[in-house]
């Protein structure tokens, strides 16, 4: 069965949805940059705690570059410090920040608010756009998809069109909206560069990670790092370096 579609549908439905979705993405990109909070520095003690932990893991990962004795000296020193819980930010109150208390802490509260802001930036435009398409462009066939779909998609892609036997390839404007939602990432990459914040479906789930982290007991993290570090026994690259250099240049 072949349908003849009014060409003005293309001008007044297909292009408007396409361009409005691109522009909403661009707008969201710049709005996200504007709302993006400047990263906050913690107090000196917290930073010192993290830096010390980083020293330990760096030593563990890059220990190959040290000679054997140099590594062992550093290893024994760091294991000792980690076990003693030196450089903890707040040794008495460590790990007491459970989620109920977390909202009282202004720093944590802001973190939660920022992640919620990011989420809202994703969800609100999406909801508005879908409502716009659904209310303005409902009830007619817009286009023919170039690929066949199974009959299960009929209810979703031909919503508002009361024809029983119409091929699923004829779809309404809502499915053009969904195609845009899925596929505009590349166009954003083309317009805004690869590291854009315009977001598509892929970016929607990503914001949720790291929003809520219940209190980490840093004393335990230190103990774990001490154990890992004590087990590390890297073979120094300086062993036999003379032979390798001679082999390389001979």
């Amino acid at each position: 069965m072949d349908l003849t579609i009014d060409p003005s549908l293309r001008v007044w439905v297909l292009f408007p949805i396409f361009f409005v979705m691109i522009l909403v993405g661009v707008l969201r990109h710049y709005a996200t940059i504007l709302l993006n909070p400047t990263p906050k520095n913690g107090d000196a003690m917290t930073i010192r705690q993290q830096q010390f932990l980083m020293y330990g893991s760096n030593l563990r990962l890059n220990g190959v570059n040290l000679s054997h004795t140099a590594f062992q000296k550093r290893q024994s020193y760091f294991v000792e410090q980690f076990k003693a819980g030196k450089y903890l930010a707040d040794p008495e109150n460590d790990g007491n920040n459970n989620p109920s208390q977390m909202l009282n802490d202004p720093g944590q509260f802001e973190k939660v608010m920022d992640s919620m802001k990011g989420q809202a930036m994703m969800v609100i435009p999406q909801t508005l756009m879908m409502g716009w398409v659904n209310s303005f462009f409902a009830g007619f066939i817009l286009m023919k998809l170039p690929f066949p779909l199974t009959i299960r998609f009929k209810a979703m892609l031909q919503s508002g069109v009361n024809t029983q036997d119409l091929d699923v390839r004829w779809v309404s404007s809502l499915s053009w909206y969904f195609l845009n939602l899925m596929g505009l990432n590349s166009i954003y990459a083309l317009i805004l560069g690869g590291q854009n914040q315009a977001g598509g479906v892929q970016a929607m789930g990503a914001g949720q990670a790291g929003a809520m982290q219940p209190g980490i007991v840093y004393a335990n993290v230190y103990k774990g790092e001490a154990e890992n570090l004590a087990l590390a026994n890297p073979k120094s690259i300086l062993v036999g370096v003379e032979d390798r250099v001679i082999k390389q240049f001979s």
């Binding site: 293309r10 023919k144 690929f147 899925m182």
Partner: protein, 117 residues
């Protein structure tokens, strides 16, 4: 492509002696993703203008993106992708193929519709 992550001499497969440059690897991976997403748009435009339907369109995408992979392999990384990527074959031929598929579908549908009328 960016500076090679590995030193030129790869005679020893010891990564400690020939360390990987994480930044360059990340940058190279990003540039692959960019090429993939832009080329998938172009492939979609092509498929739409050629007025391909159903399986032929997907076949076209598979063939064209393989050509892009081969070009990345031979031209962009000068036939020696081991210098730029940790897993060259996997990164150039397998990853990101399906990431571009949705953009391909979008452009294919759009241009199919425009040519149709």
């Amino acid at each position: 492509m960016n500076a090679p992550p590995q030193q030129a001499d790869t005679s020893t497969d010891d990564w400690a002696a020939n360390p990987l440059a994480g930044q360059s690897i990340a940058e190279n991976t990003k540039s692959i993703q960019y090429v993939r997403s832009v080329s998938s748009l172009a492939i979609g435009v092509g498929a739409g203008i050629l007025h391909l339907e159903s399986y032929y369109g997907f076949l076209f995408y598979a063939i064209a993106s393989t050509i892009v992979s081969i070009l990345l392999y031979t031209v962009s990384s000068t036939g020696n992708p081991g210098r730029y990527f940790v897993y060259p074959v996997k990164q150039l031929f397998v990853d990101d193929i399906f990431a571009g598929l949705s953009s391909f579908l979008l452009m294919w549908t759009l241009f199919y519709e425009l040519v149709d009328a």
